[in-house]
Subunit: 150 residues, 2 copies
DNA sequence: TCTAGTTACTTTGATATCAAAGCAATATGA
DNA sequence: TCATATTGCTTTGATATCAAAGTAACTAGA
């Protein structure tokens, strides 16, 4: 007789968590959307996350990591790692801020802009297709709901 | 003169994507919720994803990987990897299905159940706290919206 | 000035994530 | 029954993710 058993948690507890857990619901939806946009952006060699990061670089002043991380809901160390493949491909550069040498600013390159001009059009098409799959007011409802998670 | 430039994408395009992209909004919210539940479940050595997986094992018959993956919105290969640390800790076992030896069923162990009994209470408390941070009808709105993403 | 504290980021080590390719078992059709 | 196709899962190689601990640079207060 080994450890494997059938003596499980109460069925109602399991169903309750399954049906109400916002964290599970969010992870599930995030994975599905990630796969969808990863596939759409594949011709550009970009993942959904890389696309979002590249979009966020388009600011009058190249933003530092410390400003991008909260915007993306991301830990700064994740961003440090995420920058590497993009820098390696020459899509962005990392420059120390002259006014504060601790801070490092991410600047999109010409190549990055050229790639993004095309990628944005694919994003538009894919997002339109996504929304057309959904009930009328679901997109806005979702946007409001997701924005409410701090 | 290097590659770095200031010739960026149209400002309106950037703002449009930033404010409407459901994929970005979902990743951002998923990261925030993941961190929150990871922190709450840390005393049990469980991540939010491990918790959800363990909950899903509580079924009359131990489910095969191929049934769990779609439930979690996950690629089967991700699940194969996710199982390893949990099996190593003795929280679940992997058994070949006697009726189809390709299929592998995940069975929660006694230890797994014991751990989950406590973890579920922490989940309850954390989820209640999460919902109390939100506007009245936001949780249900979000659940419906997230469930609408296929 | 120092010096202590804070901030911005990186490194480390672990798990998470996927697509693609691979393997073995099952199912199907001739 | 044999060959082919399909199915269920795993492996591989790459990026993603985090917390914790580390480093360097800045700040504030004595």
């Amino acid at each position: 007789m080994n450890d494997a058993i059938s003596d499980i948690l109460p069925r109602e507890t399991v169903l309750h968590i399954r049906d109400t857990c916002l964290c599970l619901a969010a992870q599930r939806a995030a994975r599905r959307l990630a796969r969808r946009f990863d596939a759409a952006l594949k011709p550009f060699g970009l993942t959904n996350g890389q696309f979002s990061l590249m979009v966020a670089l388009n600011q009058p002043e190249p933003p530092p990591i410390g400003r991008l991380a909260p915007f993306l809901g991301m830990n700064p160390s994740t961003l440090t790692a995420a920058v590497k493949p993009l820098a390696r491909r020459g899509l962005l550069t990392v420059e120390p801020d002259p006014d504060d040498r601790r801070s490092r600013r991410l600047r999109i390159t010409r190549e990055g802009v050229a790639l993004m001009r095309e990628a944005v059009e694919v994003w538009r098409a894919e997002h339109a297709a996504l929304e057309s799959d959904m009930d009328e007011d679901l997109p806005d409802t979702l946007r409001q709901g997701l924005a409410g998670i701090k």
